[in-house]
């Protein structure tokens, strides 16, 4: 064992302290970086050398730089993010949908529906009164317009959802491609025995982002790469990524979403995907909005058919009969959107039929009264009054909206909880880093001191 060996030992201490400082510096710099995992340097003694029967240490080596990371928390966080973004997408849509049915609104469908019946009740008591006739015709027109605009607004939500599917599929594909590329880099870095901590952090962050669009199952492979599965189908495998592509279904005019490989083979995911914001958009477009629209259509259809049946049997102020009040819809589907006054009565208040008998003109208001009485007739879907049916629709939108909001809130709490766990495991603590800074600085100074001591000893030796 020579003095020079001790020189090298001191050098290894200084080098290890330098690595420590550099890791601490990196941690401190990334203290606020989302998705960054705190890194730790593993110090190990450099082994021993037997010199004249003595086993003497060779100093220290900075082995690996590892990251503090909990794979379980990480994968749950990604999954819950998909759930949160699903619930948040639904919440946003419902916030817009339920705004149509605010309580007490003068221009909402509920107010206009009762206004329609009331106007015809009033007309029945003064069937020749021009002002009442104008009012009844306006009320019927406003009711039709409100049905139509409510249906249009519902349809718009479905269209917005439809449009978002294509955009988000493209963004998700972009992320999948980047993740596949990181897979390749990580596998090659780690094959050479290196650390790929930052690349892994970056990949974890991208998987989290991807999860907001669509839920993925993450399978870690032996070479450090991950396989990502969407609904059991591989989206990313090793360095290869498949694409999420959309194309318009000619039958419905709506986007269908496929998983497409390089060879052009396609798997249709439209009816299976119900997670993440893409899944929420599909669910809104294919299930939630159509169900609400169907209820609205049924109400509009039954009301129009019943009102027309009564109205066309009555007589207008001009003595003519057989005129519809509303345009007769061809089918239940689309009845609300297409609801409008019939051409026979539009712009002609005198054409409104209030009388049941031409001999009773103008004082007979029994047909107008019969139209007003439809308010309490069980005519919708075979058993509900129009007002009850509408009240049911409002309550349904309300409860669906309320559970969407509650789910979003709850999922936010779960994500917050998991994020807190992740922060506790992988986050950077300034206190720890401050301590490390002092620790490594002290170690560096001490090793330097050893170095200068050895140098003095060598000087002493040379002066002999």
């Amino acid at each position: 064992m020579s003095l020079f060996d001790t020189l090298y030992t001191a050098r290894s201490g200084m080098q290890a302290a330098q690595v420590g400082i550099s890791v601490t510096a990196n941690n401190t710099a990334n203290a606020n970086t989302e998705g960054y995992s705190r890194q730790v340097v593993d110090l190990a003694s450099a082994g021993t050398l037997s010199t004249r029967g003595l086993l003497l240490g060779q100093g220290v080596t900075a082995g690996q730089v590892t990251r503090a990371f909990d794979a379980f928390t990480e994968s749950r966080l990604a999954g819950e993010r998909a759930g949160l973004s699903y619930a948040a997408t639904l919440s946003t849509a419902y916030a817009s949908l339920e705004a149509l049915f605010e309580d007490g609104s003068e221009t909402g469908l509920p107010a206009l529906l009762s206004g329609f019946f009331d106007a015809f009740a009033s007309l029945s008591s003064a069937p020749d009164d021009a002002a009442w006739r104008e009012e009844a015709l306006a009320a019927a027109g406003e009711l039709a317009a409100s049905f139509s605009s409510t249906a249009a607004h519902l349809g718009e939500q479905a269209e917005l959802a439809d449009a978002s599917i294509a955009t988000e599929a493209a963004l998700a594909t972009d992320l999948a491609v980047r993740i596949a590329d990181l897979n390749r880099q990580i596998a090659s870095a780690e094959a050479g025995g290196g650390d790929a901590n930052d690349l892994r952090d970056e990949r974890g962050r991208l998987i989290g982002e991807l999860s907001e669009y669509v839920e993925v199952s993450v399978v870690e492979e032996g070479d450090g790469s991950v396989t990502l599965l969407v609904e059991g189908e591989a989206l990313v495998q090793g360095a290869n990524a498949r694409s999420l592509v959309t194309s318009t279904d000619p039958a419905t005019g709506l986007q269908r979403i496929y998983l497409q490989g390089d060879d052009g083979s396609r798997t249709d995911l439209t009816d299976r995907l119900r997670s993440g914001s893409i899944g929420a958009a599909i669910e809104l477009r294919d299930e939630r909005v159509p169900e609400l629209l169907a209820e609205l259509d049924q109400l509009a259809y039954d009301l129009v058919i019943a009102a027309n049946a009564v109205h066309s049997a009555g007589y207008g102020l001009d003595g003519a009969t057989g005129r519809d009040l509303f345009e007769t819809p061809t089918a239940v589907d689309g009845a609300a959107l297409g609801m409008r006054l019939s051409a026979d009565v539009e712009g002609d208040p005198d054409a409104l039929a209030a009388a049941a008998d031409p001999a009773g003109l103008p004082g007979d208001g029994s047909v107008a009264a019969a139209i007003a009485d439809l308010a309490s007739a069980a005519l919708v879907g075979g058993g509900e009054t129009p007002v009850d049916a509408l009240a049911g629709l409002v309550a349904r939108i309300g409860s669906e909206a309320s559970s969407a909001y509650a789910e979003a809130e709850q999922r936010q709490l779960v994500v917050d909880g998991l994020q807190a766990q992740r922060d506790a495991t992988s986050g950077v603590s300034m206190e720890e880093e401050a301590v490390n800074l002092i620790r490594f600085q002290d170690a560096y100074e001490a090793s330097a001191r050893v170095l200068s001591t050895v140098q003095e000893m060598l000087d002493t030796l040379l002066q002999i």
Partner: protein, 295 residues
């Protein structure tokens, strides 16, 4: 022990800020709108119930309006029948006087002329107009009920008021029953004409013969007034009932939809204080660093 890291602090403070500002926003909306059930999701079942209650309330209010207008029309009809009663009473006086006394022909002629004037007055009463409607013309109330000589040209169907519960009350009774005795009553106009003819002929027996008919006519008009009064009572009490129901419904709607303002303002103050506290704590917590205390 859970490690507390930079990101733990930031994320936790952010979550608290989000919570406190969300609560403050909700409290602000509640206090500003005064509405407990603004959007259906605030209380879905109450929202559904509110749609029903508001529809019911609006229909009651509309009914009150119709009943009030009908009441006014019936009052006008009553006034017309009152006038008819007075005319008939005067005819009766003349008939009694002429039947019991022997008078010179010029007095008889004058009496005949007065009865003719009263007859015409009766026709005018039969054609009373109120709010553009001929009150005794039945459903064809846009045309006069009687021609000048007393022929009924109105409709034989009465004008009905339809109530919200499907009930019907007649507000416009055709005049041919009241004035012409259609359906087995006394024809007031014909009776007056008979009296005029008897007076002009100086036929005191003939005048005597009309006395019964005049009395029956008077009874007939009074009976019509009584019937009208009964229906008007019903209309008035129905209006009062509907108004009561509308008021009750209004109270229910308010109870369901309106916020308790005291509670709302208390919550607003609470939420405001909580939000300010979180802001204060955040700014303090984030500005403290271990490095401030090292060297």
């Amino acid at each position: 022990m859970t490690r507390v890291t930079q990101l733990s602090r930031q994320h936790a403070l952010l979550a608290h800020l989000r919570g406190a500002s969300g609560r403050l926003f909700d409290a602000q909306v509640l206090a500003a709108s005064g509405q407990q059930v603004g959007r259906p999701s605030d209380d879905p079942s109450a929202a559904g119930l509110l749609v029903r209650l508001r529809a019911e309330m609006s229909s009651r209010n509309a009914e009150v309006e119709r009943l009030t207008l009908a009441d006014l029309q019936m009052s006008a009809t009553d006034a017309a029948l009152d006038a008819a009663t007075q005319v008939l009473t005067r005819i009766q006086e003349i008939a009694v006087q002429m039947a019991t006394e022997t008078l010179p022909p010029e007095d008889l002629q004058a009496a005949a002329e007065e009865v003719q004037a009263l007859h015409d007055e009766l026709v005018r009463i039969g054609n009373t107009e109120y709010g553009g409607r001929y009150l005794f013309a039945g459903q064809t109330y846009d045309q006069p009920a009687f021609q000048a000589e007393g022929t009924y040209v109105g409709s034989t169907s009465g004008v009905d008021l339809h109530l919200g519960d499907g009930g019907v009350v007649e507000v416009g009774t055709p005049g041919d029953g009241i004035f012409r005795g259609a359906g087995g009553g006394t024809d007031l106009f014909a009776t007056a004409q008979d009296l005029i003819a008897a007076l002009q002929a100086g036929d005191s027996d003939g005048v005597q013969a009309t006395l019964d008919a005049v009395q029956e006519g008077l009874d007939q008009v009074i009976a019509a007034r009584v019937s009208l009064g009964t229906r008007q009572d019903f209309v008035q009490s129905q209006a009062a009932r509907s108004q009561d129901q509308a008021d009750l419904l209004d109270a229910d709607v308010r109870a369901l939809s309106e916020a308790d303002l005291t509670a709302a303002y208390t919550e607003l103050a609470d939420a405001q204080a909580a939000y300010e506290a979180v802001l204060q704590i955040s700014s303090q917590a984030l500005s403290v660093s271990v490095f401030d205390f090292l060297r």
